[in-house]
Amino acid sequence: MNPRSVVRQALERVESGFDAAFGARLNPLYQLGALGWFFYWIVAVSGLYLYVFFDTGIERAYASVEYMTHEQWYAAGVMRSLHRYASDALVVVVLLHLAREFVLDRYRGARWFPWFVGTPILWLIYASGISGYWVVWDKLAQYVAVATAEWLDALPIFGEPIARNFLHESVLSGRFFTLMVFIHIAVPLILLLVMWIHISRHTHARSNPPKALAIGSLAALVVLALAYPAVSQGPANLNEVPAVVSLDWFYLPLYPLFDRYSGLALWGLVGGVTLLLALLPWLPPKRVSAAATVHLDNCNGCGRCEADCPYSAITMVLRTDGAPFSQQAQVDDGRCVRCGICTGACPTATPYRRRSELVAGIELPQLSMQSLRDGTVAAVEKLRGDTKVIVYACDSAAARGLENDHTAVVNVPCVGHLPPALLDFTLTRRHADGVLLAGCRRGDCAFRLGIDWTEQRLAGLRDPYLRKRVPRERIHCVWAGFDGRAVLLREAAAFTERLRSLGSFKPGERGPAGAPAGTMVEN
């Protein structure tokens, strides 16, 4: 196994632990981006409150923060603590989010965009946080001001050293301080804009965590704020060196390096890491197959593919071929991640069609509907015994070695690639006695929406529906992911047992009324 697979397996193990405690829907590790947004909003709202009482002049800034912290500890004081701790939490979840997208290889190919935009986000987060520590004008602020200014002065851009503004009372620049206050408000606003660009290519982006997770996180931060309030470190005094300071290690971890290495060396380090990070999606580039392709002869312009595509790769445009429909689908190759979810959504992707050639309105050229149907039929033909199971396994499922004399495996990029009509066809034409869908872990579909759309299609909540005549107890979903081999083997064996007791499919057979589409496995 390559190193990334090992790390990925370890990550999924940790996440399974969180699944056990929180359930897949509330697992915080699946919601890191959404938590980032949530912490951002806490910082914004608490910051707005603090601004009401904050004095933006350098003479009174410190006293105004002291007033908030001590006189008004129950309101402004709590807000101050929330402002600091939510900023720290933002750094933590964003760094985890970044590492996670990297380990799961969700940053290359057409997914370069959010990653690339993420790089300036890091700079903006740090600029916001560092300027925040500056405006308190306590001893830490004094240290941060001089060290930051010295670091900026290492670049041969500024005529007069900026550090000079913070060296002595007689040269202290109130105007520069007020500029910092302005920066501390402007940079977070720019951050918000870039965060919005970051998720602009995701449809239904998870920018709000589930309510229970939001309430839990906010409550935990409030408890921290009350138990351990954020305080200042004594007023800045330019006649004295703030020799020992309490650092915020989330925002200021590089500052100790300023005392050991030259400013230019650190610029080189930080610039190099930034550049590497920004270019990572192309180091090496992902080898990709062709993007989804529209076959106009079979496209009726219904727009379902556009509604289901998780990456806004499809737009409906004016009809070009004179067919009696007003619109047609059009794919932006640069955004398409080759998940095939659009094919699963297309009403013309039906294996029943009498045409000699089976072509859907939108298809992945490397896995056409025709080859998927033929592959299914060929795979089950090799099976023996009277209980035949076909497993459709997505690329992230651990379906290796699942095949045996009565179980066949067909690979698809995502379970969302499967049109419900194909499952209908497989079962009611008695190619197989049961269909097992093996996907990512619930709550963390590699293509974001594949599991959700599949469940809704099977449950008759989203077009295209699985027809009522298909017995639901013959379809079983296992959302166990890359590390879920044991679960998958166990579930497949149990499913086969259940099928055996059902016997073979008889037309008109009905499962228990309203039975859910398969069982979800939450491990």
Binding site: V92, E160, H168, A243, V244, S246, F250
Partner: protein, 167 residues
Amino acid sequence: MLRILRGSAQALAYAAFVAFIGYFSASPSYTHTDPDKALIRLSFSHAGAPVRPCRRLTQEELAQLAPNMRKPMDCPRERLALLVEVTLDGQLLHRGSLPPSGLRGDGSSTAYERFTVDAGRHSLGVRMRDTPRESGFDHQREWQIDLKPRQSVMIDFRSETGGFKLL
């Protein structure tokens, strides 16, 4: 039972998260200068003399210039680099040549240095050459100081107010 177990596991996860954040948001503390020492900074901006004195142009030279460019004096814009030395108790602490800023070398030179020194009594000296002379200095000062631990002083230079000052 399972609900209680899950609830406790969640509470534990939240607690661990905020404990981690609370701790590293202000600890461990960092000592960036020895608290028993004092700090001397040298910081100023000052333009050195022009690299050569101004020169009166000859009639022939003037005639060669375009009519709107004819000025009787030719003054170079480039400045000399400054030479600065700082001494502490007679020992040389720092010696540096400060080039002028600007692409044409016509701006001020800027000094910025920091020295961590023992607290206590010292004689602190500073001198600078800003003219084309070969030896010696144009500005110098010496102070007797008694530095407390963590005290921070700054050597400034303002030509308008008579040269070096200790702030």
